[in-house]
Structure formats: C-alpha cells, structure tokens
Amino acid sequence: MRYFPLTDADREEMRKVIGIKDSRELFADLPQDKIYYSLADIPPALAEDELLGKFSALARANAYPDYLSFLGGGAYRHFIPEVVNQLSSRGEFVTPYTPYQPEVSQGSLQAMFEYQTMMTMLTGLDVSNASLYDGGTAAAEGALLVLRKAKKDRILVAGNLHPEYIEIIRTYIHNLDLHLETVDFSRETGAVNLDDLSGKLDDQTAGFIFQSPNFFGVVEEGQKIADILHGKKAYAVQVIAEAMSLAFLRSPGQNNVDVAVGEAQSFGLPLGFGGPYLGFMAAKEEFIRQMPGRIVGQTLDREGKRGYVLTLSTREQHIKREKATSNICSNEAWCALRAAMYLATLGRKGLLEVSRINHLNTAYFAREIGKNQKFAVRFPKNFYNEVVVQVKNVKIEDVLQKMQDKKILVGIPLKWFFPEYPDALLVNFTESHTKADIDRLLKALGELS
C-alpha cells in the first residue's frame, strides 16, 4: 500500500530488533479476546483511479451545480481568485501542525500576524485572534467572553440573530448557570427594537449579542446600540455573518462596539456544504487577556531579528486546563490563511469594489421586484446583500418548487426559523450574480401564478 513505506523485509528486521516474532505481540497488553476483530464488513481497498471514479459518481449525485442559487443565510458564494487556491494548496501550508516550534513555522506565523492585522483594519478594533471554528461558535465565544470580562451572569441576544447561532449560544451556556434573554426586533424595519433592548438591560447584564447585517439582511444602528449598552456598563458584541459587508459598512470599531465576532467564509472559502469555514473574533485592547484561541505576536530572535510566536498562551487550555478562557485547541488556521490571501489579493480597491457590487446587485433586485404587485420587500431600507421578499397569494412551497423546476434556488424560506413569516423568502445576491442571472430570477418570479 502506497501510504506505508515499510517493506516486509523492514518489518521483519524491526521485529527482530524489538525482540518479537509477530506484530500481534505489540498488542499484548490489550484484551486478547477483543483484538484483531473481524474486518469482514469493511469494504475492500480502492486504487487511486477507483477512488476518483467512486467520488466523481457521488459528486454527480449532487444536482446542485445545475441550479442558479440565491441561497445565503450565513454561507455565501463569492468569486475566489485562483492565486488563493494555488498558494493555499502548497504542502508547506497544508501539512504542518500548530506552530509550536516557531523557528520552523515563520511562514504560517507571519501570515497569521498579517491576517490579524487585516481583521483589525476591517473591524476597526484593536486586536484579533488567529481564528475560531465558525460564525456560530464565535458568537458563543463572544457571549462567554463578555460574561467573563463583566463578571456578570446574564446575556441578551437579538431575536434577529442567525437562528443557528442562537441555538449554538444556548448549547454553550446551557449548563453554566447563565441566563439568556432574547431582544425583540421591529416588525417594521427588521432591526433590533431599541426600546425592548433598553427595557431588558439590567445591572446583571454582561452584554448584548446582535448581528449586523442581521439575519434579515438589515444593517443595524450599531452606534445607538453600543451607546445604550455602555450606559448600563454592558458590552456590545456585534456578529457579522457576511464578512464581505465589513468593507462596505461603518465598522464595529467606528460604532464603538466592543467585540466583533462572526463568519469570514466569504473571504476565500468555498461553500463546501457548510464547512470548514472561518470564525473570527476582534475586540478592543482591554479584552485581549480574556480572549479565546490562538494569538500571534511579534518578537525578536537571539540576534535581534524580527520573528513571530504564539503568545499569551497562559490563557489557554494546555497551561490553564479547567481555568482556561476556552477549551479550543485546533482551530481554523488554514482557513484564516486563505482569508489573508484573499484579502491581500483583492486589496483595498478590490474589497471596496466587490463589497459595493454585492449591495448594488441586491438594490437592483429590490427595486425591480418592488414593481411587481405580487411581491413586497419586507424591510426595504438599509439592507446589505440580502433581502426578505414576501410572496402574495402563492404558497411558499409552491414558489420553491416552481422555481426549482426552472433550475433556480430562489432563497431560504423564513418559516424554517420564523413561523410568523410563512410567506417570505431570504434572497441573497453577490458579485457572482450577473445582471442576466438576476433578470432570469425576476422573470421566473414574474411568471408565478
């Protein structure tokens, strides 16, 4: 087998050196009646060409690629420049472990330092860690971060935060004697109901987790939210599920938000059926010693030359064990590397331009669909690259099916998560959609009856 470099002659000689006759003796400490169990139900080995055949067939069983998709909701299709694919595939980047020996890991470490820097520029905050698992777990870590920092036991979350993220936060805090309450959103604007937020804030509240652009695609008034929270000595944690929006919208830092967490899949990662993606966390300087995850810092070597190391490891599980700021160990380093490559490749001009195209494409759709009496854009102001579309007089199941018959995935039915919106779809537009794509969608929707 090509993955095993030992020859039978090697094995024989090594067994002799060790002083055993048969490899089975290596397992002498194991219960002898349980080892070398039958492998009869395990399929036979496939050669490399057979592997390609088998998995090509599985790939062909996915009809998805034949469809024009407007699905978003926390996973977005953006164009990925080929340099990102080529460079990130280098074995030197793909196959090392966490950089525990910095002298032979400067490539990963410097790239990570550059990633951290670009994330602070995008979020307008002081410090960034080197990655978390994904947007949902980053939101949960954000909640735990401000609870630790504030030494309080109550947290508020926005009702228009991604429903999966809320589920994950609930799972994370479920057994920790912490209290979670949901803040309502305005049925008119789709944004957080600021009166409800003020009403639910109390002295035991550590902070408020809100998403902007929120699950409905609406951009929140971050500054107002932060001001309300700071008035009660609580922290503002902004979740960003569509990282592309960072280059178009006023940054969390500019809005005086304390912590930004979220999903950066949009920065150079394929949809990948949901993963691996890239959780991120950036915060004001005061949070750094409470942050979870790896952080790369600059230092000097024995001769005074610049170099990079993992730093502040006294926060982490391998030193602090049960008192660590998080249990995280392996994170999403390679995804962060791809994000760094993507950000550097698009650069200042490209990011500003692409993030703007996302909005302009969405705005075009919103204007056009609004002209049709059968539809309404539920929250027509201050969206980024997703809008909620209400369909009148046609059942949503029929809409989905009829559009699917035309090879279009029109969007996510909101009622999956919000039963109060049985007639609405969440529709996403990125730079990957051309005018012809959007016109095809508009035409197909117009033909619904």
Partner: protein
C-alpha cells in the same frame, strides 16, 4: 538560508491591483442605505500586483517545516502523511454545495456523511456518531454535553468528572465548559489508572471519567474494562478521548471496552491535514442509550434517499453551523476507502512497530520513566541529562527534523513524546535515532552548542517572554 519577507503592508504600494473581477452592470445607486451606515475607506489595506502576492506567500511557505517536507514526530498529534488524492477530491466543485440546498439536490454529499458515520461505527463499535464537531476539543465538549444530558434526563445532578493527571489540557477545559467540576486523579507507577484509584474517587457525585486510551504516555489503559464496569455500577459513564485511535485502527473497538462516549480526530488518525492548526473535525460516537442526545443536524437514509433533520427535542441542541467541517469528512472517507479491509489494521501495526523501534533505538541513551509496553508513541525524560529537553528539540531543527512534543505529559520530567506514525520509512527512523544520539553526544561534549540552537533556521531562537511582555499583535503604520 531563507529569510522572512517584509510584511505585506510594507511592500504595498498605492495603485497596485492583484485581482480582476467583472464590475457591476448597475448604476451606483446607494439610495437604499443611509450614508451614515456606510464606511469611508480601508486605510492602509494592502495593494499588490498578482506576481507580488504569489512571491510573498511562496516565500512564506518555504519558511515552514511540514509533513510534506520532513519527519514530524510530534507526539499525540499523529503527523502522518496526508494523501494528495484526498485534496483533489475535496476540491471537486460539485461537492461544494450551499448547506441549505434542498436535500434532493445534494444526495451525494448526504451519502458521504452517512457513509463516513457508518465506517466510524464499524471501526469503533459505538452505536452512533455525530460528525458536526469542528475539532477534538469541540468533540470533547459535545461528548460531555451528551453526558450532562443523560443525567438531566434521569434526574441526577452529578457534578464531578474524574480526569487522570496524564490528560491533555483540553479534557479539563472541555468538561469545565460543559458545566462540570473536574477532579484530577493520579496514574500508577506503570503510567496507567489502577482500578483501586478509580474506586477510591468514585462517589455518587461522579458523572464520568475521561480517559485517553492509549494514554499520553503511549500506553494502553489495560484496566479499562474493569474500570468501565465499576463506573457503570456507580451509575457513572466512561468517556474515551480517542486522539490516539491510530494505535487501535483495525485492532480493537472502544465500544468493546465499555466506552460510553468517544471522540475521534479526523485530522489525526484519518489523515486529513492539520493546516497549521486546523481545520480539524472531531466526530463523537456514543453507546446505544445515548444516541438520541447527539446534536443536530443528523443525516438519515430512507431506502435510497438521504435526508437531514435539523430539530431534535431530545438532543443537546446544536454545537456548530450547518453539517460541520464537511470537506474534512470527505478527505477522511477517501482515506478509509483507499485503505479498505486489506490495510486498515496495518495502520496500527506499522505505527506501533515504528514507535517501538524508536524506543529500542534510544532507550539506552535516554531515560524511559515508564517501562510499560509502548503503543503508537514513546515518552522519554531529560532526567539524567545535562541538557534540557527544550535544547535538544531546538538542536534537532538544524538537522531538518521537527522535534517531538516537549514537556507533555506533565507527569514526566522534561518529557519528549515521540510519535513516528506508520507513514515513515525505516531509513527515516534510523536517521532520527542516529541524529538523536549525535545531539546527545554533542550535549555531553559541549552543552553550550545546544543552548544556542538552532543555527540554520530562518530565525534563531525566539524570545517568547518578550512577545508576551511587549505585546505586538498587529502591524502598525510607521513601526
């Protein structure tokens, strides 16, 4: 010698462009959004041409040691070869669907998830699996939540989780974040848990024991069946950290040893690459009585049709977005299909043979604190040496060898934890043994040589204390 390139911010020049994405076909109508919700610009963000980006990252890559470039016997991390065909297949565009696609359009992907689950069930003897956790520690957290749920359901408020002193730091951290108090219990002079020690610490308060098996000394916890039995008599559960499953592949099923909850690391035993610190994947397997508590989503098969379920009132809820790290699962399944029944067992046999060969080669020159039989890794100590483990490790870098795991497990003085894996040749092992002996000779003759090592790396020994004291975690303009 390779040198660090300048930072990307320092090579950036106004007006350079590294991309070409077609522009918008629409007018620049921004009336849908209030101007005060938009940002002005992206000051200091890099601007480079494509060739400069390619050179920057190519130069950076050449500063890394990796499995592709050389021996990487990092103990407990199972740095085996990551097959190239895995990468090719994980890159298939047709697998890269949106996670909210209708199930009938992603039957291939759902089949991949279900098939991998079935493989893991066969290999481990557990009754069911979730593949959603993103890494080993995330799997531990998920597994401990399942245990918490079990006691909630039967109405018992058990608070304590027992953890051996040889455990990885993620074990106590994961148990803590699942709401448990952890209690450390000592391993015996053979480096394993004795039945008596476990009995001593068993109280009605004990929810579970978290045991790594083979443990971090590379030793089989041979009392596991009796320990499982006394735990179960006490109403407690046995959690097995399967980070070291490489020693068990095709040899023994944890499910046959009395394990209730198990996590695996696809990025260790199952050959998916570590990526410099992730992405990983940490599937959790459970015994039959716990299957209902696994997190959502779950994937099922109904005749020839695959579907996912997103809600389960009985379960612990959700631990990760979507289906987990799907493209990591793809790689693991490709690997298992490549191995097949003919080669599965050889993974463990060769991995353990290689570790024992290194043990034999070095046990005359290094202190071996625990004499128990080694499985996939061997742990030496610097106790009888004039130099420290750290210095030996740093000197190895000059010979193109990535050092072993150092100073872990904590119960060994100056631990050197060596895990060669099955994907190394005898020639590589011989070279490693010879190099270690040479370094130890050097240490005897002139210890100063080691204290200043390495000499040939892109940077020399780095000041980690300075990094923490004078924190600089981002580039600043003009610095």
């Amino acid at each position: 010698m390779n040198r660090l390139p300048e930072l990307i911010f320092d090579i950036s020049r106004e007006g350079k462009v590294g991309y070409a994405i077609s522009g918008t076909e629409f007018s620049d109508d921004l009336s849908a959004i209030d101007p005060d919700r938009r940002r002005d610009g992206l000051e200091d963000f890099p601007q480079l041409s494509e060739v400069e980006i390619v050179r920057h990252y190519t130069n950076l890559s050449q500063l890394n040691h990796s499995v592709d470039s050389g021996f990487y016997p990092l103990g407990s991390c199972t740095m085996k070869y990551n097959p190239k065909i895995n990468e090719k297949i994980a890159g298939f565009e047709a697998l890269s669907a949106h996670p909210y696609s209708p199930h009938e359009l992603v039957q291939g992907n759902l089949e991949i998830i279900k098939t991998l689950e079935e493989w893991l069930v066969k290999i481990t003897g557990m009754a069911g699996f979730t593949l959603t956790p993103a890494a080993g520690a995330h799997g531990e957290f998920t597994g401990m939540q399942v245990i918490r749920k079990h006691f909630d359901v039967i109405g018992q408020n058990r608070k304590i989780v027992l953890i051996p002193d040889s455990a990885h730091g993620t074990n106590p951290a994961s148990a803590h974040f699942a709401g448990f108090e952890t209690k450390e219990i000592p391993s015996n002079p053979d480096g394993i848990l004795s039945l008596e020690t476990v009995k001593e610490h068993l109280t009605p308060e004990v929810a579970a024991l978290m045991m790594t098996n083979p443990n971090t000394l590379g030793v089989f916890e041979k009392n596991i069946i009796q320990i499982a039995s006394v735990l179960h008599q006490n109403g407690s559960l046995l959690y097995m950290d399967g980070a070291n499953m490489n020693a068990f592949m095709g040899i023994v099923k944890p499910g046959d040893l009395g394990v209730d909850v198990l996590h695996l690391n696809l990025h260790k035993t199952f050959s998916t690459p570590h990526g410099g610190g992730g992405p990983g994947s940490g599937p959790v397997g459970v015994a039959a009585h716990l299957v209902d508590y696994l997190p959502v989503p779950t994937v099922s098969r109904d005749k020839d049709r695959y579907y996912a379920q997103y809600f389960n009132k009985e379960g612990i809820g959700r631990v990760k977005n979507f289906y987990g790290n799907f493209l990591v699962m793809v790689r693991a399944l490709v690997y298992l299909c490549a191995l097949g029944k003919e080669n599965l067992r050889k993974v463990a046999e060769d991995a353990v043979l290689n570790a024992n060969y290194i043990r034999k080669g070095l046990e005359d020159v290094l202190d071996l604190p625990y004499k128990s039989r080694s499985l996939h890794e061997v742990v030496f100590s610097d106790k009888n040496l004039d130099v420290k483990t750290l210095d030996i490790a740093k000197r190895l870098l000059d010979f193109g060898i990535h050092p072993f795991t150092i100073y872990f497990p904590l119960i060994v003085h100056g631990a050197m934890m060596i895990e060669p894996t099955e994907t190394e040749s005898k020639e590589t092992l011989d070279h490693f043994i010879a190099t270690m002996k040479q370094v130890l000779k050097e240490a005897e003759a002139n210890p100063g040589t080691l204290e200043n090592a390495p000499y040939s790396t892109p940077v020399l020994r780095l000041d980690e204390v300075l990094a923490a004291r004078k924190l600089q975690v981002r580039w600043q303009k003009g610095e």
